[in-house]
């Protein structure tokens, strides 16, 4: 079971990470969720050629990884895993947008390449922020925070169930795949048609299981509302973190910090 989970999505390891006790882990999940959302909004809202102003935002993931005792290599690997998507989104920019935007000595860089780099940088920043949120909070606590902040219960309950049963589903799919490959000699039996039948089978099994789960829930008095008995409390440190981070993000969003530093340095040298 555990093995499947880890080979599938490595979710169990993310969960283990969230079991730690560090200053980052102790923060209220709602505060971390809000901060992460604000971070993502700030990073995404820059114009498409922005590069330098994005750079200071790297501080946030770095500081959280350090304070939260999170394995940097592991997180980078996860980010890389999703990188092809961003790569595909951005890779056509250099082909379409050939207007020269930046002169670096003899080197001329087109707007396409700049926007491509910007896309990749934004991607790394936002995905790592989201990963850090889950790794330092735990998926369930994120769902809980969503619900406490007023997200529709149907939505958070769906997320919780998705997370609970993705392991069971993965296990089931793996068993079916294994059963097929054991009896598929020399590639026969691996045809697309068989795969579609298997997916249908998996759906039927899932419906069956859903019915049994619903039955088990009804047996324990389920009436359409999931009640979770856990109180969240926002303390002084949470507020400091939230206000501090928000202020820094907004400042970095409104001011191009590297350019400003550069200008100041130039002015001093003159």
């Amino acid at each position: 079971m555990e093995k499947t989970g880890s080979s599938l999505l490595d979710l169990t390891y993310l969960d283990t990470l969230s079991d730690q006790d560090t200053p980052v882990h102790r923060l209220d999940p709602r505060v971390k969720l809000l901060t992460t959302l604000l971070f993502i909004v700030c990073v995404v809202s820059f114009n498409k050629y922005e590069l330098s102003a994005l750079l200071p935002f790297v501080i946030y993931p770095i500081v959280l990884v350090a304070l939260g005792n999170l394995p940097l290599g592991y997180l980078l690997k996860k980010v890389l895993l999703a990188a092809p998507f961003a790569f595909l989104v951005g890779i056509f920019n250099p082909l379409l947008d050939r207007a020269v935007l930046v002169h670096l000595g003899p080197l001329e860089i087109s707007g396409g390449w700049v926007s491509f780099a910007s896309i990749m940088l934004r991607f790394v920043l936002t995905v790592s922020a989201a990963l850090i949120l889950v790794a330092s909070t735990g998926f369930n606590a994120v769902c809980l925070a969503l619900e406490k902040m007023g997200a529709p219960a149907a939505f958070t309950v769906q997320l919780l169930f998705l997370y609970r049963y993705i392991f069971v589903l993965g296990d089931e799919a793996l068993r079916m795949l294994r059963a097929r490959s054991l009896r598929s000699f020399g590639g026969r039996g691996m045809a697309l048609q068989v795969s579609s039948l298997m997916i249908g089978q998996l759906l039927l099994r899932t419906l069956d299981r859903a019915q049994r789960i619903h039955l088990a829930m009804r047996c324990r008095g389920f009436d359409g509302e999931i009640r979770i008995a856990r109180q969240l409390r926002i303390g002084g440190r949470d507020l400091v973190f939230l206000v501090g981070c928000s202020a820094i993000f907004l400042f970095m969003r409104l001011h191009d910090v590297p350019r400003w530093l550069g200008d100041t340095a130039m002015a001093l040298m003159r």
Binding site: E2, R209, R218, G221, R227
Partner: protein
Amino acid sequence: MAGRHGHGVDAVSHPVVEVRDLQYTYPDGNPALRGLSFSVAQGETVAIVGANGAGKSTILLHLNGCLMPQAGTVRIGDFPLSKRTLPDVRRTVGMVFQDPDDQLFMPKVQDDVAFGPLNLGLPADEVDRRVMHALSIVGAAHLKDRPPYRLSGGEKRAVAIASVLSMSPTILVMDEPTSNLDPQARRRLIELLKTFEQTIIVATHDLDMAFDLCARTIVVKEGRILTDGPSREILQDAVLLVAGHLERPLRLQGCPVCSPPG
């Protein structure tokens, strides 16, 4: 066997479960129960045994209203089973399903054990108390913060039982409680169930467990009751057992090493 079985069959005069002429046909036209009757007294432990498809699970599903009788009646304590009495019946009868993955759907063990009590509308501190009590009964208090998918089979089963115990049912109904457990986990479960005060009804193929745990055995065949009586007698009656597609519990069979057959 434990002393709790002393007030067994002779207490039938005051049944906590009473099934009369129960019939049920599945939507696909397959008749599962063809009219069976039995009653269970307070504190009894009853094994329902029989071949695959004999109707064991269908009986269990009627005992807390997962299925409604198509003909005949089911009474749980003072309540005849009906839509109106369903909440009372479900509070009285705790159902442990065969696959713990179906039963443990909450993100953490303690959320799952708290699910029933919270739905009963109990105050938070009472819920906490019940959760810890139920978990400590099954010896799983240390698992309370773990997600269910990271438990072993035996731990899952223990937690599934705790999630039902937390509602303080007076009747426990279990479908194959010993399936998929390793021998030691199975033995621990049997010893645990022996300590329970509740009325216990189990459907099982594990005849050795039936012999150990249950004073009374009901053999079901093709939707009818073949026999109903003390486990000690029924589980030794080879002719009867063969008629029910069963065999004697392994420990009642000859040892193949010290007295080889033939």
